[in-house]
């Protein structure tokens, strides 16, 4: 091949690189390894971690290890999807495009919102982008983040907002609840100002919150926010919406959340699936970040087809004026989520959703019966809740639980031994009972 194109040495193809820069030797990385050697190496690395199938984990806080049905695990390996690029040539990418359109459509039904984009990186970055969208639409710079919110999501929201001059006002509230009266007061004050002098672009809160709690039904609060032309973004756990009222019902403008819960592995924290949804508004859909898939037809027939649309918002066309810099997203996890939502179906989502509420309430009730333990510390809860384990230290609790094969949730910053516990559909009744028995033994 080299001779065919007039060269005699491969290094001639690098003759344009200054001699002083060209490495004479390979970089110092071991290998090449055979497939067997490579597999053994990674098996030995994996063996240094606990085998998750022998561990009962109560970790949540945004993502959870959920059961992945066999059919989904099998389908999510289709090389035609996994090894494809962004579907910029729709004629040869209809399969992926239709799957993504189905993802958008099914999630829209769950959220009761009209528009869902084709994915963000994760919940935290979706929140960061939602802050920027609310600011662009209102031309105001202050955004309130209210109620219990995970520290990692807050940190990411700051990274997205503050470099470009936005101000995040964090109002955590007490007892796992939204600080409704303070919020009402802020928006009433805004109401008294001239439109041009209003400062608040919007409000963000989570249902359920980071502490697993459901706030008071937020309709009056949202009406107050809308009363000053500000916007509301709600963060959700999509599984909860089988039994809990969806954000579209209480007039949320934007929704963010974590789609990992819809059939994707936790994967040590990524790839995840950032949910970004909005009401349908001709102005708003031109401000949403990320890719949008739309339904259309062939030019020459009425046969249905799908393609990326409204690309003029995106970085490859608008460059520094784009709505976001996002290009690569999390498509394959959105495809997995689409398959999962279809597999659960109308009845399955309700049942799964209820079954998590059942497990959480059962576990909290059992733990609460142990002397010195308070569970749930704040309510009402859905699938996650804060437990006060009393006088034991986090380290002691973690060590003993790990020895017995349990991960006792996540440490909550603050006084004492308070931890966030989450249930999943992997938990059997005997898992829950065994954990309660272990805790009873540990704290007594």
């Amino acid at each position: 091949m080299l001779k065919d194109i007039g060269y005699s040495d491969i290094l001639e193809l690098f003759s344009d690189i200054p001699e002083e820069l060209l490495l004479k030797d390979p970089v110092d990385i071991p290998g090449p390894y055979s497939e067997q050697h490579l597999t053994r190496l990674f098996q030995s690395i994996a063996a240094k971690s606990r085998n998750t199938s022998n561990m009962v984990s109560f970790l949540g806080g945004g993502i959870r290890q959920m059961y992945i049905p066999a059919a989904i695990e099998d389908l999510m390996r289709r090389g035609e999807f996994v090894t494809s690029y962004t579907p910029y040539q729709p004629e040869i990418s209809q399969g992926l495009l239709q799957m993504l359109y189905e993802y958008q459509s099914m999630l829209a039904e769950i959220l009761a919102m009209d528009v869902v984009n084709a994915s963000m990186y994760d919940w935290a970055t979706a929140l960061g982008e939602a802050v920027l969208v609310m600011s662009r639409l209102t031309r105001r710079q202050k955004i309130i983040l209210a109620g219990p919110i995970a520290p990692n999501r807050l940190a990411v929201a700051r990274s997205y907002a503050e470099a470009s001059g936005h101000e995040l006002v964090v109002m955590p509230g007490t007892n796992g609840q939204l600080p409704v009266s303070e919020l009402m007061e802020i928006f009433q004050q805004e109401k008294g100002k001239k439109k041009s002098q209003r400062e608040y672009a919007g409000l963000y809160f989570e249902v359920p919150s980071y502490y697993g709690t459901l706030p008071d039904y937020p309709q009056p609060l949202i009406d107050a926010v809308h009363g000053v032309d500000a916007l509301v973004t709600v963060g959700v756990d999509p599984i909860s919406l089988g039994v809990i009222a969806p954000p579209g019902d209480y007039d949320a403008d934007f929704v963010v959340g974590e789609g990992q819960l819809l059939g994707n592995a936790p994967a040590t924290g990524g790839p995840l699936l950032g949910i970004m949804a909005s009401k349908y508004d001709r102005k708003w859909i031109r401000q949403i970040p990320g890719r949008l898939i739309g339904a259309t037809t062939e030019l020459e027939s009425q046969e249905a087809g799908y393609c990326i649309t409204l690309q003029t918002r995106e970085q490859h066309i608008r460059r520094e004026k784009a709505t976001s810099n996002i290009c690569t997203n999390e498509s394959i996890t959105a495809v997995n989520a689409a398959i999962y939502m279809a597999a659960l179906g109308k009845q399955g989502l309700v049942e799964l959703s209820q079954s998590l509420a059942d497990r959480a309430q059962y576990l909290a009730t059992q733990l609460d019966q142990i002397d010195g333990i308070s569970a749930p510390l704040y309510g009402p809860i859905y699938a996650e809740f804060v437990v006060d384990f009393g006088s034991i230290t986090h380290e002691e609790l973690e060590t003993i639980c790990l020895e017995r094969g349990f991960v006792p949730g996540t440490k909550i910053d603050g006084s004492g031994c308070q931890r966030l516990l989450a249930v999943t559909d992997l938990h059997s009744k005997s898992d829950l009972d065994a954990f309660v028995a272990t805790i009873r033994e540990v704290v007594s």
Partner: protein, 498 residues
């Protein structure tokens, strides 16, 4: 004659339009425990209108749709600047190991030592490959890596009290993410023209550099596949002005193992592990966009970093980093892609990475020489200079002679079972077809691409209208994108007239 390929053409209804009431696929596990009550005001009134299909219906639906999709596993994908190389299956299997795939990232460090070790090892090998002093794996994609790089630039200049640096310089041939990321970080973007040969214009650079410039973002090899021969001089000019050198690593496949970024005096670089190091692109994502920095910027990297304590022989996440820019991802970025990349790097070793790069460059130059000979094509800029991993072919003569454009060629080549090159990018070249074959395609496959392009050109000269009617063998013909952009239908829930 090169073979054309008929893609599957199923008339597959939307999944929501299939099935019947009461049909089920996955039935959730129910425990024998009391039913929890949801507060009345919070109870959902109407169940979400999800499909009601059987498992077999769903499996057939997804398999049929997959058959209407092109991937590297199906055929060549010479999409420039995207590095659509083969994604080795062994990496997929390793990424699925239970301890990696099913681990919650908040698991105590002691119970996920191997997972932290994977991140640590990847940080270390990327340092070795580039000569940098520190690496974070947290950014979820290349664009987020760019954003992190810009935040690091802000933090570095602020730390020195250099607050007047508000501008970032970017060549006109750059990827669109560069200006978008710089703008998101609050910088003003100044676009620099390229020279006739596609290089950085040193005079324009000198004129633009002053104490208001924070960084110069550059892609090397650039988006024409051309290496900047004066990169050391450029770095010196930028550093003398007190600004930082940022390398967009999207085109790293053209130099990996041959040149180290630190030797070119770059301060910051992002990697696209899903390009250079074989993470599957997943239909547009996930990616993984680690950032490497020179020693003086290590303190500003995102938190946490994977770290190792040799005394205790323990891996841990280091949160004690007071100058850090903070977090850009809820957890540790796309671990699933990071581990595939690490497996790929070890599978190749230093020796293999060098060979891989050489093969990618050979393939690009072979293809360039062959395409150049096709009537109607030119290869603009930098004549006689070898390209790195990609090159631009421009069918301007063909368009002038026949009216067939780069966009038409992109559609016509789909009928050969070959994905189109990147079209109309970079913006500075007329009728650009940016072609990147990667090292993964063999000579037969490269010859197929050349033959397809030649046949299309010949057909254009013989009967241009027939090209406008292509593709014909893909699952759908050309779509009405214009009407859709005018009246976007973005979900089935959205009523058409809303």
């Amino acid at each position: 004659m090169v073979e054309k390929r008929q893609q599957a053409h199923w008339q597959e209804k939307l999944i929501m339009d299939k099935g019947r009431p009461g049909r089920r696929a996955h039935i959730p596990d129910q425990l024998d425990i009391p039913h929890a009550s949801i507060p009345t005001t919070w109870q959902r009134q109407q169940p979400a209108a999800l499909p009601e299909v059987s498992e077999l219906e769903l499996v057939r639906h997804v398999v049929r749709l997959s058959q209407m999709n092109h991937g590297v596993d199906v055929g060549p994908y010479p999409l420039g600047s995207c590095t659509m190389k083969y994604n080795p299956k062994v990496n997929e299997r390793i990424a699925r190991f239970d301890a990696f795939a099913m681990m919650h990232p908040d698991t105590p460090d002691i119970a996920q030592q191997g997972n932290i070790e994977v991140l640590y090892r990847l940080q270390e090998v990327l340092k070795t490959i580039t000569g940098f002093g520190g690496v974070t794996v947290q950014p979820a994609a290349g664009a987020q890596g760019e954003y992190v790089g810009m935040l690091i630039s802000r933090a570095y200049h602020a730390d020195r009290g250099d607050h007047q640096r508000t501008k970032v310089l970017i060549p006109d041939s750059a990827h669109g993410t560069n200006p978008a990321s710089a703008a998101m970080a609050g910088y003003k973007v100044v676009e620099l023209p390229s020279t006739e040969n596609g290089y950085v214009d040193l005079e324009a650079l000198a004129a633009a550099l002053d104490d208001t410039v924070a960084a110069f973002m550059i892609t090397n090899p650039n988006t024409l596949g051309i290496f900047e021969p004066q990169i050391k001089e450029i770095s010196k000019m930028v550093h003398d002005a007190g600004a930082l050198m940022y390398l967009d690593g999207a085109n790293f496949n053209g130099v990996v193992g041959m040149v180290r970024s630190a030797d070119m005096d770059f301060d910051i670089q992002h990697f696209n592990l899903h390009k250079t190091f074989s993470g599957p692109h997943g239909g547009g994502g996930p990616g993984c966009g680690p950032v490497g920095v020179a020693d003086h910027l290590v303190d500003f990297l995102p938190t946490p970093l994977a770290a190792y304590d040799p005394d205790k022989d323990l891996y841990y996440f280091d949160y004690d980093r007071p100058k850090s820019i903070g977090r850009v991802h809820g957890y540790h970025g796309n671990f699933g892609i990071a581990i595939r990349a690490l497996a790929y790097i070890y599978r190749n070793g230093g020796i293999g990475l060098r060979k891989m790069c050489q093969a990618a460059v050979l393939n690009a130059n072979y293809l360039m020489e062959k395409v150049k000979q096709i009537k109607g094509y030119v290869v603009p800029k930098a004549t006689g200079i070898p390209r790195k991993h990609e090159f631009i072919a421009s069918p301007v003569p063909l368009m002038n002679d026949t009216g067939v454009t780069a966009g038409d060629i992109a559609k016509a080549i789909l009928d050969y079972g070959i994905h189109s090159p990147t079209v109309y990018f970079p913006l500075i070249i007329k009728e650009a077809l940016l072609i990147e074959p990667t090292e993964a395609e063999n000579r037969d496959s490269l010859d197929d691409i050349v033959d397809a392009l030649r046949e299309i050109a010949e057909q254009a000269y013989a009967d241009a209208d027939s090209i406008h009617a292509m593709p014909k063998l893909t699952s759908r013909g050309r779509l009405d994108e214009y009407e859709l952009a005018k009246n976007p239908v973005l979900s089935q829930r959205q009523s058409p007239d809303s």
